[in-house]
Protein backbone atom coordinates (compact mmCIF):
# COMPACT_ATOMS: atom_id res chain seq x y z
CA UNK A 1 0.00 0.00 0.00
CA UNK A 2 1.57 3.32 -0.97
CA UNK A 3 1.51 6.33 1.34
CA UNK A 4 -1.44 8.26 -0.20
CA UNK A 5 -3.65 5.14 -0.08
CA UNK A 6 -2.68 4.48 3.51
CA UNK A 7 -3.56 8.03 4.48
CA UNK A 8 -6.95 8.13 2.79
CA UNK A 9 -7.91 4.70 4.09
CA UNK A 10 -6.75 5.04 7.67
CA UNK A 11 -7.32 8.69 8.51
CA UNK A 12 -10.16 11.17 8.51
CA UNK A 13 -9.55 14.54 6.86
CA UNK A 14 -7.90 16.89 9.31
CA UNK A 15 -10.48 18.38 11.67
CA UNK A 16 -13.26 15.87 10.93
CA UNK A 17 -14.80 13.87 13.76
CA UNK A 18 -16.67 10.58 13.99
CA UNK A 19 -18.65 9.25 16.93
CA UNK A 20 -18.95 5.58 17.65
CA UNK A 21 -21.32 3.41 19.69
CA UNK A 22 -21.71 4.70 23.26
CA UNK A 23 -20.45 8.19 22.46
CA UNK A 24 -22.82 8.44 19.51
CA UNK A 25 -25.65 7.11 21.68
CA UNK A 26 -25.03 9.75 24.35
CA UNK A 27 -24.82 12.45 21.69
CA UNK A 28 -28.19 11.49 20.25
CA UNK A 29 -29.81 11.22 23.67
CA UNK A 30 -28.55 14.67 24.59
CA UNK A 31 -29.94 16.08 21.35
CA UNK A 32 -33.31 14.43 22.06
CA UNK A 33 -33.34 15.96 25.55
CA UNK A 34 -32.59 19.41 24.15
CA UNK A 35 -35.21 18.97 21.44
CA UNK A 36 -37.82 18.19 24.11
CA UNK A 37 -36.85 21.34 25.99
CA UNK A 38 -37.07 23.51 22.88
CA UNK A 39 -40.42 21.96 21.95
CA UNK A 40 -41.79 22.76 25.41
CA UNK A 41 -40.83 26.41 24.82
CA UNK A 42 -42.61 26.44 21.46
CA UNK A 43 -39.54 26.29 19.22
CA UNK A 44 -39.94 24.35 15.95
CA UNK A 45 -36.99 22.74 14.19
CA UNK A 46 -35.41 24.00 11.00
CA UNK A 47 -33.02 21.98 8.86
CA UNK A 48 -30.53 24.11 6.97
CA UNK A 49 -28.73 22.98 3.79
CA UNK A 50 -25.21 21.66 4.18
CA UNK A 51 -23.93 23.99 1.44
CA UNK A 52 -25.07 27.17 -0.22
CA UNK A 53 -23.83 29.87 -2.60
CA UNK A 54 -20.96 31.77 -1.01
CA UNK A 55 -21.66 35.14 -2.65
CA UNK A 56 -24.99 35.52 -0.86
CA UNK A 57 -23.22 35.47 2.50
CA UNK A 58 -19.99 37.34 1.69
CA UNK A 59 -21.22 40.73 2.88
CA UNK A 60 -22.18 39.17 6.23
CA UNK A 61 -18.76 37.64 6.82
CA UNK A 62 -15.75 39.58 7.95
CA UNK A 63 -12.41 38.62 6.44
CA UNK A 64 -11.56 36.18 9.22
CA UNK A 65 -14.94 34.44 8.95
CA UNK A 66 -14.54 34.18 5.19
CA UNK A 67 -11.04 32.78 5.56
CA UNK A 68 -12.28 30.06 7.90
CA UNK A 69 -15.03 28.98 5.53
CA UNK A 70 -14.65 25.86 3.42
CA UNK A 71 -15.49 26.69 -0.18
CA UNK A 72 -15.84 24.62 -3.32
CA UNK A 73 -16.86 25.12 -6.91
CA UNK A 74 -19.85 23.23 -8.33
CA UNK A 75 -20.14 21.81 -11.85
CA UNK A 76 -21.59 25.08 -13.16
CA UNK A 77 -18.68 27.03 -11.73
CA UNK A 78 -20.62 28.57 -8.85
CA UNK A 79 -18.68 29.16 -5.64
CA UNK A 80 -20.31 27.29 -2.76
CA UNK A 81 -19.60 27.29 0.97
CA UNK A 82 -20.10 24.52 3.49
CA UNK A 83 -22.31 25.40 6.43
CA UNK A 84 -20.03 27.36 8.77
CA UNK A 85 -22.66 29.08 10.90
CA UNK A 86 -26.19 27.75 11.23
CA UNK A 87 -27.60 31.18 12.09
CA UNK A 88 -26.47 32.55 8.72
CA UNK A 89 -27.96 29.69 6.72
CA UNK A 90 -31.13 29.81 8.81
CA UNK A 91 -31.46 33.54 8.22
CA UNK A 92 -31.50 32.98 4.49
CA UNK A 93 -34.04 30.15 4.64
CA UNK A 94 -36.37 32.14 6.87
CA UNK A 95 -35.62 35.54 5.30
CA UNK A 96 -36.74 34.35 1.89
CA UNK A 97 -40.06 33.15 3.27
CA UNK A 98 -40.62 35.61 6.07
CA UNK A 99 -43.39 37.50 4.29
CA UNK A 100 -45.61 34.44 4.47
CA UNK A 101 -44.80 33.62 8.10
CA UNK A 102 -46.57 34.59 11.28
CA UNK A 103 -44.18 36.46 13.55
CA UNK A 104 -42.79 36.06 16.07
CA UNK A 105 -41.28 32.80 14.97
CA UNK A 106 -39.46 30.42 17.28
CA UNK A 107 -37.02 28.07 15.58
CA UNK A 108 -34.35 25.66 16.75
CA UNK A 109 -31.67 23.66 14.99
CA UNK A 110 -29.31 20.74 15.50
CA UNK A 111 -26.63 20.71 12.83
CA UNK A 112 -22.94 20.12 12.24
CA UNK A 113 -20.91 23.04 10.97
CA UNK A 114 -17.46 23.13 9.44
CA UNK A 115 -14.94 25.90 9.98
CA UNK A 116 -11.27 25.74 9.22
CA UNK A 117 -9.19 26.13 12.38
CA UNK A 118 -5.64 27.31 12.05
CA UNK A 119 -2.64 26.15 13.96
CA UNK A 120 -2.77 23.93 16.99
CA UNK A 121 -6.41 23.05 17.37
CA UNK A 122 -6.61 20.99 14.21
CA UNK A 123 -8.83 18.30 15.69
CA UNK A 124 -11.85 20.58 15.66
CA UNK A 125 -12.92 21.92 12.33
CA UNK A 126 -16.24 20.14 12.68
CA UNK A 127 -18.59 21.34 15.39
CA UNK A 128 -22.09 20.37 16.36
CA UNK A 129 -24.28 23.38 17.01
CA UNK A 130 -27.65 23.35 18.71
CA UNK A 131 -29.47 26.62 18.95
CA UNK A 132 -32.69 28.52 19.32
CA UNK A 133 -33.68 31.75 17.62
CA UNK A 134 -36.61 34.05 18.27
CA UNK A 135 -37.43 35.99 15.10
CA UNK A 136 -39.65 39.04 14.88
CA UNK A 137 -39.43 40.50 18.38
CA UNK A 138 -37.36 43.65 18.92
CA UNK A 139 -38.10 44.23 22.59
CA UNK A 140 -36.18 43.27 25.66
CA UNK A 141 -38.62 40.42 26.20
CA UNK A 142 -36.91 38.47 23.38
CA UNK A 143 -33.52 39.04 25.04
CA UNK A 144 -34.96 37.78 28.32
CA UNK A 145 -36.51 34.74 26.67
CA UNK A 146 -33.24 33.82 24.93
CA UNK A 147 -31.24 34.06 28.14
CA UNK A 148 -33.86 32.25 30.21
CA UNK A 149 -34.00 29.43 27.68
CA UNK A 150 -30.22 29.25 27.57
CA UNK A 151 -30.17 28.96 31.36
CA UNK A 152 -32.75 26.17 31.24
CA UNK A 153 -30.62 24.39 28.67
CA UNK A 154 -27.58 24.62 30.96
CA UNK A 155 -29.71 23.26 33.80
CA UNK A 156 -31.09 20.47 31.64
CA UNK A 157 -27.56 19.43 30.68
CA UNK A 158 -26.54 19.76 34.34
CA UNK A 159 -23.76 22.24 33.91
CA UNK A 160 -24.04 24.07 37.25
CA UNK A 161 -20.70 25.87 36.94
CA UNK A 162 -21.42 27.37 33.54
CA UNK A 163 -21.37 31.16 33.60
CA UNK A 164 -23.04 33.53 31.15
CA UNK A 165 -21.04 36.68 30.36
CA UNK A 166 -23.30 39.41 29.11
CA UNK A 167 -22.37 42.48 27.06
CA UNK A 168 -23.62 44.50 24.11
CA UNK A 169 -22.54 45.31 20.56
CA UNK A 170 -24.41 48.60 20.83
CA UNK A 171 -21.64 49.90 23.10
CA UNK A 172 -19.16 49.58 20.23
CA UNK A 173 -21.56 51.38 17.90
CA UNK A 174 -21.79 54.19 20.48
CA UNK A 175 -18.10 54.91 19.97
CA UNK A 176 -17.94 55.16 16.19
CA UNK A 177 -20.13 55.14 13.12
CA UNK A 178 -17.30 54.09 10.81
CA UNK A 179 -17.83 50.44 9.83
CA UNK A 180 -14.19 49.61 9.34
CA UNK A 181 -13.16 51.24 12.64
CA UNK A 182 -16.01 49.38 14.34
CA UNK A 183 -14.74 46.07 13.01
CA UNK A 184 -11.19 46.68 14.25
CA UNK A 185 -12.42 48.11 17.54
CA UNK A 186 -14.63 45.07 18.10
CA UNK A 187 -11.67 42.75 17.54
CA UNK A 188 -9.51 44.73 19.93
CA UNK A 189 -12.21 44.62 22.61
CA UNK A 190 -12.87 40.90 22.16
CA UNK A 191 -9.14 40.27 22.54
CA UNK A 192 -8.99 42.71 25.48
CA UNK A 193 -6.18 44.33 23.53
CA UNK A 194 -6.39 47.85 24.95
CA UNK A 195 -3.49 49.08 22.90
CA UNK A 196 -5.46 48.30 19.74
CA UNK A 197 -8.48 50.09 21.21
CA UNK A 198 -6.33 53.17 21.82
CA UNK A 199 -4.89 52.90 18.32
CA UNK A 200 -8.40 53.07 16.89
CA UNK A 201 -9.85 55.77 19.13
CA UNK A 202 -6.84 57.82 20.22
CA UNK A 203 -5.30 57.88 23.67
CA UNK A 204 -7.93 59.88 25.54
CA UNK A 205 -11.07 58.33 24.06
CA UNK A 206 -9.36 54.93 24.05
CA UNK A 207 -8.72 55.18 27.78
CA UNK A 208 -12.40 55.97 28.36
CA UNK A 209 -13.40 53.03 26.19
CA UNK A 210 -11.09 50.78 28.15
CA UNK A 211 -12.78 51.76 31.41
CA UNK A 212 -16.07 50.63 29.91
CA UNK A 213 -15.12 47.53 27.95
CA UNK A 214 -12.72 46.09 30.56
CA UNK A 215 -15.57 45.93 33.07
CA UNK A 216 -16.41 42.44 34.40
CA UNK A 217 -18.49 41.90 37.51
CA UNK A 218 -21.28 39.83 38.98
CA UNK A 219 -24.81 40.76 37.96
CA UNK A 220 -25.51 42.26 41.39
CA UNK A 221 -22.33 44.35 41.30
CA UNK A 222 -23.23 45.64 37.86
CA UNK A 223 -26.61 46.85 39.08
CA UNK A 224 -24.79 48.92 41.68
CA UNK A 225 -22.16 50.18 39.20
CA UNK A 226 -24.20 50.82 36.03
CA UNK A 227 -24.95 54.52 36.56
CA UNK A 228 -21.33 55.29 37.48
CA UNK A 229 -20.07 53.33 34.47
CA UNK A 230 -22.08 55.50 32.11
CA UNK A 231 -20.48 58.73 33.34
CA UNK A 232 -18.15 60.31 30.79
CA UNK A 233 -19.20 57.82 28.11
CA UNK A 234 -20.97 58.58 24.80
CA UNK A 235 -24.67 59.44 25.38
CA UNK A 236 -26.18 56.19 24.04
CA UNK A 237 -24.04 54.11 26.42
CA UNK A 238 -26.29 55.02 29.36
CA UNK A 239 -29.37 53.86 27.43
CA UNK A 240 -27.77 50.54 26.59
CA UNK A 241 -26.49 49.98 30.12
CA UNK A 242 -30.00 50.67 31.43
CA UNK A 243 -31.34 48.02 29.09
CA UNK A 244 -28.69 45.58 30.28
CA UNK A 245 -29.48 46.46 33.90
CA UNK A 246 -33.15 45.71 33.28
CA UNK A 247 -32.25 42.30 31.85
CA UNK A 248 -29.92 41.53 34.75
CA UNK A 249 -32.39 42.70 37.41
CA UNK A 250 -35.14 40.56 35.89
CA UNK A 251 -33.05 37.43 35.51
CA UNK A 252 -30.95 37.47 38.68
CA UNK A 253 -33.67 36.15 41.02
CA UNK A 254 -34.42 33.33 38.58
CA UNK A 255 -30.88 32.10 37.99
CA UNK A 256 -28.44 30.10 40.10
CA UNK A 257 -25.90 32.13 42.08
CA UNK A 258 -23.05 33.40 39.85
CA UNK A 259 -24.69 32.17 36.62
CA UNK A 260 -24.91 35.67 35.16
CA UNK A 261 -22.11 38.21 34.96
CA UNK A 262 -21.82 41.45 33.09
CA UNK A 263 -18.69 41.54 30.94
CA UNK A 264 -18.64 44.51 28.59
CA UNK A 265 -15.88 43.00 26.45
CA UNK A 266 -18.58 40.63 25.16
CA UNK A 267 -19.43 42.60 22.05
CA UNK A 268 -20.39 39.71 19.78
CA UNK A 269 -17.97 37.66 17.73
CA UNK A 270 -20.00 37.80 14.53
CA UNK A 271 -20.12 40.68 12.10
CA UNK A 272 -23.94 40.70 12.13
CA UNK A 273 -24.58 41.17 15.87
CA UNK A 274 -26.40 44.36 16.85
CA UNK A 275 -27.42 44.70 20.53
CA UNK A 276 -27.21 42.14 23.34
CA UNK A 277 -24.24 39.78 23.08
CA UNK A 278 -23.19 36.97 25.37
CA UNK A 279 -20.98 33.91 25.72
CA UNK A 280 -21.03 30.96 28.08
CA UNK A 281 -17.89 29.61 29.74
CA UNK A 282 -17.39 26.38 31.59
CA UNK A 283 -14.53 25.38 33.90
CA UNK A 284 -12.32 22.85 32.18
CA UNK A 285 -13.20 23.98 28.67
CA UNK A 286 -10.67 26.34 27.10
CA UNK A 287 -13.06 28.36 24.95
CA UNK A 288 -16.67 29.59 25.02
CA UNK A 289 -19.20 26.73 24.88
CA UNK A 290 -22.14 28.86 23.72
CA UNK A 291 -22.68 32.31 22.30
CA UNK A 292 -25.55 34.43 21.16
CA UNK A 293 -27.22 37.78 21.15
CA UNK A 294 -29.31 40.07 19.03
CA UNK A 295 -28.98 40.51 15.27
CA UNK A 296 -31.67 42.84 14.06
CA UNK A 297 -30.30 43.51 10.57
CA UNK A 298 -29.38 39.99 9.50
CA UNK A 299 -32.68 38.93 7.92
CA UNK A 300 -32.89 42.07 5.80
CA UNK A 301 -29.89 40.74 3.83
CA UNK A 302 -32.14 38.01 2.45
CA UNK A 303 -35.52 39.67 2.01
CA UNK A 304 -37.86 41.37 4.43
CA UNK A 305 -36.11 42.33 7.63
CA UNK A 306 -37.06 41.18 11.10
CA UNK A 307 -35.35 41.62 14.45
CA UNK A 308 -34.05 38.45 16.03
CA UNK A 309 -32.24 37.11 19.07
CA UNK A 310 -30.92 33.68 19.94
CA UNK A 311 -27.98 31.52 20.83
CA UNK A 312 -26.11 28.44 19.81
CA UNK A 313 -24.31 25.88 21.93
CA UNK A 314 -21.32 23.82 20.83
CA UNK A 315 -22.62 20.51 21.99
CA UNK A 316 -19.43 18.46 21.79
CA UNK A 317 -17.65 20.91 24.06
CA UNK A 318 -20.09 20.34 26.92
CA UNK A 319 -20.87 16.63 26.59
CA UNK A 320 -17.79 15.67 28.59
CA UNK A 321 -18.60 18.14 31.37
CA UNK A 322 -22.24 17.18 32.04
CA UNK A 323 -23.03 15.96 35.53
CA UNK A 324 -24.98 12.68 35.76
CA UNK A 325 -23.85 11.81 32.26
CA UNK A 326 -24.91 8.21 32.96
CA UNK A 327 -28.54 9.18 32.45
CA UNK A 328 -27.71 9.40 28.74
CA UNK A 329 -25.87 6.07 28.56
CA UNK A 330 -27.35 3.09 26.71
CA UNK A 331 -28.95 0.34 28.86
CA UNK A 332 -26.40 -2.24 29.88
CA UNK A 333 -28.79 -5.10 30.59
CA UNK A 334 -29.65 -7.15 27.56
CA UNK A 335 -31.85 -10.20 27.36
CA UNK A 336 -30.48 -12.83 24.99
CA UNK A 337 -32.97 -15.13 23.29
CA UNK A 338 -31.89 -18.16 21.28
CA UNK A 339 -33.38 -18.41 17.80
CA UNK A 340 -33.81 -22.15 17.39
CA UNK A 341 -37.43 -21.32 16.64
CA UNK A 342 -37.07 -17.81 15.17
CA UNK A 343 -40.82 -17.04 14.99
CA UNK A 344 -41.33 -17.91 18.66
CA UNK A 345 -38.19 -16.03 19.65
CA UNK A 346 -39.40 -12.98 17.74
CA UNK A 347 -42.81 -12.99 19.48
CA UNK A 348 -41.18 -13.37 22.91
CA UNK A 349 -38.64 -10.64 22.17
CA UNK A 350 -41.31 -8.19 21.05
CA UNK A 351 -43.20 -8.66 24.32
CA UNK A 352 -40.06 -7.93 26.32
CA UNK A 353 -39.15 -4.93 24.11
CA UNK A 354 -42.65 -3.55 24.60
CA UNK A 355 -41.96 -3.73 28.34
CA UNK A 356 -38.83 -1.63 27.85
CA UNK A 357 -36.17 -4.33 27.80
CA UNK A 358 -33.32 -4.58 25.32
CA UNK A 359 -33.47 -7.94 23.58
CA UNK A 360 -30.97 -9.40 21.16
CA UNK A 361 -31.09 -12.67 19.32
CA UNK A 362 -28.24 -15.00 20.03
Amino acid sequence: MNQPQRKTRLQLPRGAESLLLEEAFVHRRVIATIADLFTAWGYMPIQTPVLDFFDGYRQLLDDDDARHTYRLVDREGELLMLRADVTLFMAKQIGLAIRSMDLPLRVCYFDAILRHQEGGDLSHSEFYQVGAELVGLAGVEADLESLALLNRLLEELRLPRAVIHLGSRALVDAYTGDESVRARLRKGILARDWQQVENELGTQVGARARELFAYVASGAEFLADAAQLAKGQPPTVAVDLERTAHIVATLLPMLPVDRLRVDLSEVGSRHYHTGLAFSVYLPGVGSAVAAGGRYDRLFAAFGDGAPAAGFSLFLRKVEGAMQDRERFLPPTERVRIPTDDFAAAYRHAEKLRAAGQVVIFS
Binding site: G120, A191, G286
Partner: protein
Protein backbone atom coordinates in the same frame (compact mmCIF):
# COMPACT_ATOMS: atom_id res chain seq x y z
CA UNK B 1 -11.38 20.33 37.46
CA UNK B 2 -8.81 21.70 39.87
CA UNK B 3 -9.74 24.89 41.70
CA UNK B 4 -6.12 25.94 41.76
CA UNK B 5 -5.19 28.53 39.19
CA UNK B 6 -2.59 26.92 36.96
CA UNK B 7 0.35 28.75 35.42
CA UNK B 8 2.52 27.25 32.69
CA UNK B 9 6.12 28.35 33.07
CA UNK B 10 9.02 27.76 30.67
CA UNK B 11 11.90 25.47 31.52
CA UNK B 12 15.46 26.72 31.80
CA UNK B 13 16.75 30.24 32.24
CA UNK B 14 13.35 31.89 31.92
CA UNK B 15 12.03 29.78 34.79
CA UNK B 16 14.92 30.83 37.00
CA UNK B 17 14.15 34.46 36.26
CA UNK B 18 10.42 33.99 36.79
CA UNK B 19 10.83 32.09 40.05
CA UNK B 20 13.09 34.89 41.36
CA UNK B 21 10.42 37.37 40.27
CA UNK B 22 7.80 35.33 42.15
CA UNK B 23 9.95 35.06 45.26
CA UNK B 24 10.28 38.85 45.38
CA UNK B 25 6.49 38.94 45.53
CA UNK B 26 6.19 36.36 48.27
CA UNK B 27 5.42 33.29 46.14
CA UNK B 28 7.79 30.35 46.42
CA UNK B 29 7.64 27.53 43.94
CA UNK B 30 9.98 24.58 43.97
CA UNK B 31 9.80 21.62 41.60
CA UNK B 32 10.93 18.37 43.17
CA UNK B 33 13.53 16.39 41.25
CA UNK B 34 12.14 15.47 37.78
CA UNK B 35 8.69 16.76 38.75
CA UNK B 36 6.94 18.95 36.21
CA UNK B 37 4.02 20.01 38.41
CA UNK B 38 4.35 21.96 41.65
CA UNK B 39 2.10 23.87 44.01
CA UNK B 40 3.05 27.21 45.54
CA UNK B 41 3.94 27.11 49.22
CA UNK B 42 0.64 28.81 50.13
CA UNK B 43 -1.35 26.22 48.14
CA UNK B 44 -3.11 28.73 45.89
CA UNK B 45 -1.29 28.25 42.59
CA UNK B 46 -0.26 25.28 40.53
CA UNK B 47 2.70 25.50 38.19
CA UNK B 48 3.40 23.41 35.10
CA UNK B 49 6.98 23.30 33.88
CA UNK B 50 6.86 22.91 30.11
CA UNK B 51 9.08 23.48 27.11
CA UNK B 52 8.97 27.02 25.83
CA UNK B 53 7.76 25.79 22.42
CA UNK B 54 4.81 23.95 24.01
CA UNK B 55 3.76 26.59 26.47
CA UNK B 56 1.26 28.34 24.22
CA UNK B 57 -0.38 24.99 23.49
CA UNK B 58 -1.00 24.27 27.18
CA UNK B 59 -2.52 27.70 27.72
CA UNK B 60 -4.38 27.65 24.40
CA UNK B 61 -6.12 24.41 25.36
CA UNK B 62 -6.92 25.68 28.84
CA UNK B 63 -4.77 23.11 30.65
CA UNK B 64 -3.09 26.13 32.20
CA UNK B 65 -5.08 29.29 32.78
CA UNK B 66 -2.03 31.52 32.62
CA UNK B 67 1.34 31.29 30.96
CA UNK B 68 4.67 33.07 31.02
CA UNK B 69 5.75 33.13 27.43
CA UNK B 70 7.93 35.13 25.06
CA UNK B 71 6.19 37.14 22.36
CA UNK B 72 8.52 35.38 19.89
CA UNK B 73 6.65 32.15 20.62
CA UNK B 74 3.22 33.76 20.89
CA UNK B 75 3.61 35.32 17.45
CA UNK B 76 4.10 31.84 15.99
CA UNK B 77 0.85 30.37 17.33
CA UNK B 78 -2.73 30.88 16.22
CA UNK B 79 -4.19 30.33 19.69
CA UNK B 80 -5.93 33.34 21.15
CA UNK B 81 -4.67 34.80 24.41
CA UNK B 82 -5.28 37.79 26.57
CA UNK B 83 -1.96 39.57 27.01
CA UNK B 84 -2.03 40.77 30.62
CA UNK B 85 1.31 42.57 30.60
CA UNK B 86 5.05 42.28 30.13
CA UNK B 87 7.31 40.90 32.83
CA UNK B 88 10.47 42.85 33.61
CA UNK B 89 12.96 40.28 32.36
CA UNK B 90 13.87 38.26 29.31
CA UNK B 91 13.40 40.96 26.68
CA UNK B 92 15.39 40.50 23.50
CA UNK B 93 15.60 41.60 19.88
CA UNK B 94 14.20 39.72 16.89
CA UNK B 95 16.75 40.24 14.14
CA UNK B 96 17.58 39.51 10.54
CA UNK B 97 21.10 38.12 10.60
CA UNK B 98 23.71 37.31 7.96
CA UNK B 99 27.40 36.68 7.53
CA UNK B 100 29.56 39.61 8.58
CA UNK B 101 30.44 41.90 5.69
CA UNK B 102 28.37 39.95 3.19
CA UNK B 103 26.83 42.06 0.41
CA UNK B 104 23.06 41.46 0.15
CA UNK B 105 20.57 42.56 -2.48
CA UNK B 106 17.19 41.87 -0.90
CA UNK B 107 14.24 42.00 -3.25
CA UNK B 108 16.41 41.71 -6.34
CA UNK B 109 14.39 39.10 -8.21
CA UNK B 110 14.54 35.58 -6.80
CA UNK B 111 13.11 34.68 -3.42
CA UNK B 112 15.52 35.17 -0.56
CA UNK B 113 16.23 32.02 1.44
CA UNK B 114 15.87 32.44 5.22
CA UNK B 115 16.30 29.85 7.96
CA UNK B 116 14.47 30.49 11.22
CA UNK B 117 12.68 29.16 14.25
CA UNK B 118 10.09 31.87 13.66
CA UNK B 119 8.56 31.34 10.21
CA UNK B 120 5.47 33.50 10.83
CA UNK B 121 7.53 36.47 12.01
CA UNK B 122 10.02 36.07 9.15
CA UNK B 123 7.28 35.70 6.54
CA UNK B 124 5.47 38.78 7.77
CA UNK B 125 8.67 40.83 7.79
CA UNK B 126 9.54 40.00 4.19
CA UNK B 127 5.97 40.18 2.90
CA UNK B 128 5.56 43.64 4.44
CA UNK B 129 8.61 44.66 2.41
CA UNK B 130 7.21 43.00 -0.73
CA UNK B 131 10.20 40.67 -0.89
CA UNK B 132 9.60 37.05 -1.98
CA UNK B 133 10.95 34.69 0.67
CA UNK B 134 11.71 30.99 0.92
CA UNK B 135 11.46 30.02 4.60
CA UNK B 136 13.34 27.04 6.01
CA UNK B 137 12.00 26.05 9.43
CA UNK B 138 14.57 24.98 12.00
CA UNK B 139 14.17 24.15 15.67
CA UNK B 140 17.54 25.23 17.07
CA UNK B 141 21.15 26.30 16.46
CA UNK B 142 19.92 28.48 13.62
CA UNK B 143 23.26 30.22 13.16
CA UNK B 144 24.61 26.98 11.70
CA UNK B 145 22.34 27.50 8.70
CA UNK B 146 24.51 30.38 7.55
CA UNK B 147 27.79 28.79 8.58
CA UNK B 148 27.01 25.58 6.69
CA UNK B 149 25.40 27.23 3.68
CA UNK B 150 21.77 26.17 4.20
CA UNK B 151 20.63 29.79 3.86
CA UNK B 152 22.43 33.14 3.61
CA UNK B 153 20.12 34.72 6.19
CA UNK B 154 18.49 33.79 9.45
CA UNK B 155 15.79 35.41 11.57
CA UNK B 156 16.32 34.78 15.26
CA UNK B 157 16.21 36.21 18.75
CA UNK B 158 19.35 38.00 19.91
CA UNK B 159 19.97 38.64 23.60
CA UNK B 160 23.67 39.45 24.00
CA UNK B 161 25.01 38.96 20.46
CA UNK B 162 27.86 36.76 21.68
CA UNK B 163 26.69 33.70 19.73
CA UNK B 164 26.57 35.77 16.55
CA UNK B 165 30.08 37.08 17.09
CA UNK B 166 31.37 33.56 17.70
CA UNK B 167 30.06 32.49 14.28
CA UNK B 168 31.16 35.61 12.43
CA UNK B 169 27.58 36.76 11.95
CA UNK B 170 26.10 40.22 12.29
CA UNK B 171 22.69 41.81 12.69
CA UNK B 172 21.47 43.23 9.39
CA UNK B 173 18.27 44.66 10.76
CA UNK B 174 16.32 44.60 14.01
CA UNK B 175 12.82 43.36 13.15
CA UNK B 176 11.33 44.10 16.54
CA UNK B 177 11.56 43.67 20.28
CA UNK B 178 10.42 40.55 22.09
CA UNK B 179 9.31 40.46 25.68
CA UNK B 180 8.10 37.93 28.21
CA UNK B 181 4.36 38.27 28.58
CA UNK B 182 1.95 37.05 31.19
CA UNK B 183 -0.89 35.64 29.08
CA UNK B 184 -4.26 34.14 29.94
CA UNK B 185 -6.49 31.64 28.25
CA UNK B 186 -9.56 33.80 27.40
CA UNK B 187 -12.14 31.36 28.75
CA UNK B 188 -10.29 30.81 32.02
CA UNK B 189 -9.77 34.55 32.38
CA UNK B 190 -13.54 34.95 32.09
CA UNK B 191 -14.41 32.20 34.54
CA UNK B 192 -11.86 33.25 37.17
CA UNK B 193 -11.50 36.91 36.39
CA UNK B 194 -11.12 38.04 39.99
CA UNK B 195 -8.37 35.58 40.80
CA UNK B 196 -6.57 36.19 37.50
CA UNK B 197 -6.72 39.97 37.86
CA UNK B 198 -5.44 39.87 41.44
CA UNK B 199 -2.57 37.62 40.45
CA UNK B 200 -1.75 39.69 37.37
CA UNK B 201 -1.63 42.86 39.45
CA UNK B 202 0.66 41.14 41.93
CA UNK B 203 3.00 39.83 39.24
CA UNK B 204 3.08 42.88 36.99
CA UNK B 205 3.21 45.74 39.48
CA UNK B 206 6.67 47.08 40.37
CA UNK B 207 7.85 45.94 43.80
CA UNK B 208 7.62 49.48 45.16
CA UNK B 209 3.89 49.57 44.37
CA UNK B 210 3.28 46.23 46.06
CA UNK B 211 5.21 47.46 49.08
CA UNK B 212 3.12 50.64 49.24
CA UNK B 213 -0.07 48.60 49.13
CA UNK B 214 0.88 46.36 52.02
CA UNK B 215 2.07 49.07 54.38
Amino acid sequence: VSDLLTIAVPKGRQFERFSAHLAERGVDVVFADRELVATSHDGTLRFLLVKNDDLATYVGHGIAGLGVCGTDKLDETSYEFYALGALPFGGARMCLIGRRGQALHLGAGAAVKVATRYPAVAREFFHNRGIPVDIIKLSGSVELAVVLGLAPLIVDVVETGRTLAAHDLEIIEEIGRTEIQLVANPAIYKIRYRQVRELAERLLAPLAVIGDGSD
